[in-house]
Symmetry: C2
Subunit: 308 residues, 2 copies
C-alpha cells in the first residue's frame, strides 16, 4: 500500500568521534523514504534548493521513491550542522540554516491524495496538518515531533496530535510533552492527546511501544561500530511504517506492531553503521531478514518450567 511522507531533505555537516562529513545527504524525509522503500511504495513531499545534486535525486529514484511531490525553490537546501560526543548519545546542533525550508508550502500532486498511509516527519505542526488536509481518506496517520515545537508551538502541535494514530517521539521529548519522568504515565497522558499508539524512541536502548493495554520493549541492536547516529530515528520510523503499509492489514494488531518495532530497529541499526544514507543505499532485503533474526536471538528466552 502507498505510504506518503512529508519532511525535510537536507544537507548535513556532521562530526562524530570517528570522522566528519561535509554536506552529506540527510533530512528526516530522506532517511524515512530510503528505509520505507524496502517495504512499500513511497511518495515523498519535501522542498529542495537549486543546489540539490542530481545524483542525490537519482539515488532516491533508484529505490523507486516517487518524487513528484518534491518541489525545488531558488536558494539553498536546508542545512544542519551538528556534532556528537564520545558516547554518541546526543547531537549538539552547531547551526541550522533553514534556507528554502522557510518557504516550504506543501501542495500534494493529485496522484498523492489517495495515499493510504501517511507519515508526518518532524516539521512545523501547521505544515503537518496542511499535508494531512490534502489526503483524502488515509487509513493510518503517524507523526514525529521534537522539543522545538513542544516549546514554541504546543497548541498547534496538540491540534496535529488529535488527528494522528501513531506518534513517534524521543524519550526526553515524551517526558517534556507529558511533564512526567515515568514512561507509563507519560504514555497515558500523551495517548489522551490523540494518538492511539505511541512509540517512544530510546536511542541506543531501543524503543517502547504503547498500544491499548499493551507495552512492547525492543532493544537497539548491539553494534561494535556505531559510526553516526544521524537519521536513526527517521530510519526506524521508515522501517516501522513501511512494514505496516506492506502488510496492509485492516487493523493495527498487537502482533503487527510488535513486528514493526523490530523491523524499525533493524533498519535503524544499518543507518548508524555509516555516514548519511551510505549503508541504506547498498542494503539488500536479505540483510534485513538476517538482522531481524539476530534481534530474535538477542531477546529470546524460554518460559520457566513448573520446577524453576
Amino acid at each position: 500500500m502507498s505510504l506518503l511522507v512529508v519532511g525535510t531533505m537536507a544537507y548535513d555537516s556532521v562530526k562524530t568521534p570517528f570522522g566528519e562529513r561535509h554536506l552529506a545527504l540527510g533530512g528526516s524525509a530522506t532517511y524515512f523514504s530510503m528505509s520505507a522503500s524496502f517495504f512499500t511504495k513511497v511518495m515523498l513531499v519535501a522542498v529542495i534548493g537549486d543546489d540539490f545534486a542530481k545524483d542525490h535525486l537519482e539515488l532516491l529514484g533508484a529505490r523507486g521513491i516517487d518524487m513528484n511531490g518534491v518541489s525545488r525553490l531558488p536558494g539553498c537546501t536546508f542545512h544542519w550542522q551538528g556534532e556528537y560526543g564520545y558516547d554518541l548519545n546526543e547531537a549538539k546542533t552547531l547551526a541550522t540554516h533553514l534556507n528554502v525550508l522557510e518557504k516550504f508550502d506543501p501542495n500534494l500532486p493529485e496522484s498523492y491524495r489517495g495515499a493510504e498511509y501517511v507519515f508526518l516527519a518532524n516539521i512545523d505542526p501547521r505544515l503537518q496538518r496542511k499535508v494531512l488536509d490534502q489526503v483524502k481518506r488515509p487509513r493510518l496517520v503517524a507523526c514525529d515531533t521534537m522539543n522545538f515545537w513542544i516549546h514554541s508551538a504546543l497548541p498547534e502541535l496538540k491540534k496535529t496530535l488529535e488527528m494522528v494514530d501513531i506518534l513517534f517521539i524521543n524519550e526526553g521529548e515524551a517526558r517534556m510533552l507529558a511533564n512526567t519522568p515515568n514512561m507509563v504515565k507519560a504514555a497515558r497522558e500523551i495517548r489522551s492527546m490523540g494518538p492511539r499508539t505511541l512509540v517512544i524512541k530510546q536511542g541506543e536502548y531501543g524503543a517502547l511501544l504503547f498500544h491499548e493495554g499493551e507495552i512492547v520493549s525492543a532493544p537497539a541492536f548491539t553494534l561494535e561500530e556505531v559510526f553516526d547516529p544521524t537519521g536513526a530515528g527517521d530510519t526506524f520510523a521508515g522501517g516501522f511504517m513501511g512494514h505496516v503499509a506492506r502488510m496492509g492489514e485492516k487493523e493495527l494488531t498487537p502482533a503487527l506492531l510488535r513486528q514493526a518495532i523490530v523491523v524499525g530497529s533493524a533498519m535503524a541499526s544499518f543507518t548508524v553503521e555509516k555516514f548519511s544514507i551510505d549503508r541504506l543505499k547498498d542494503l539488500e532485503r536479505r540483510e534485513i531478514a538476517e538482522r531481524f533474526r539476530h534481534f530474535k536471538r538477542l531477546t529470546h528466552f524460554e518460559d520457566l518450567t513448573a520446577e524453576a
Copy 2:
C-alpha cells in the same frame, strides 16, 4: 545448590521524589540474599554493628537465610545516605559512614566452605579474594564492583577479576573499566580480564549479557510507580544467581543465562516498587512467575513470514 554471598548489610537514609526513609534496612548482601532466597539456600557473610536491629535479622531468618557468617562488631552498622532526582536515574551520595565495615575481616564458618555458588558483592577486591580463598571448590563465582575500586584499586580489582566467572557491572562503570563507550568493545575488553560471562546493568533500560559469542538484551519492567531504585542491581544479581544455583546445571548454557537475566530483571522490578526490602519481604513465588510471563509479553514478537 548453596549460594554464598559476601557484601554489606547497611542502614540507608534515602530521599526520592516520592518520600524519604531514615535508617532503612539496606546493603548489597541484604538485597542479594533476600532476592536469591526465593530460589535457593543462601549463606550470608557480612558485618553488622551493635545497633543492628533484632527484627531485621529475624526478617532475613524468616526467608531461610543462613546468618552464621554474619559477625557483629562494636560500633555502628555501615550507613549510606543518598538522594535521587526527578528521573530516579542516578543516586547522589550525600554521606557514607563505613563504621564497622572498616574492620570487616571475613572468616567463613566451616559450614560455608563447601558452597557451590559464590557472589562477591561490591566490596574491597582484596576482601572479595579473601572470601574466595576460603571456599573449597566453587562451581561458579560471580562478582560486582563499582567506580570507587576502578579508580582507587584497579590492580587489586584485576586480580579478583581473574578469578571470577561472571561480572555484574553498571554500564557507566563498564565504560570506565574498558575505557571505551561501545558496549560490544567494552565487553570484549572486560572478558579478556577474566570473566567468561559479563552482565551489564543499564538501570531503567534493563541489562545486556555477553557470553561466548552470545549477546542477550533484557528490558527493565515498565512500571508506573518506581518508588526507590536503591538495591535494584543487587536484587537483580540475587535473582540471576539464585536461579542459576537452583537449576544447578553443570554448564552455564545460553538458555540458562537467558532465563537468569529475566528472573533477575523480574526481581529488581519488585524491589523498586517500595522503599528498602519492603516489597521483597512480602513477595510470593506466584507473583514472580506472573512477572516473568509479563516479561515474555513485553519482548515477544513473531518471525517474519517469507512474504513480509
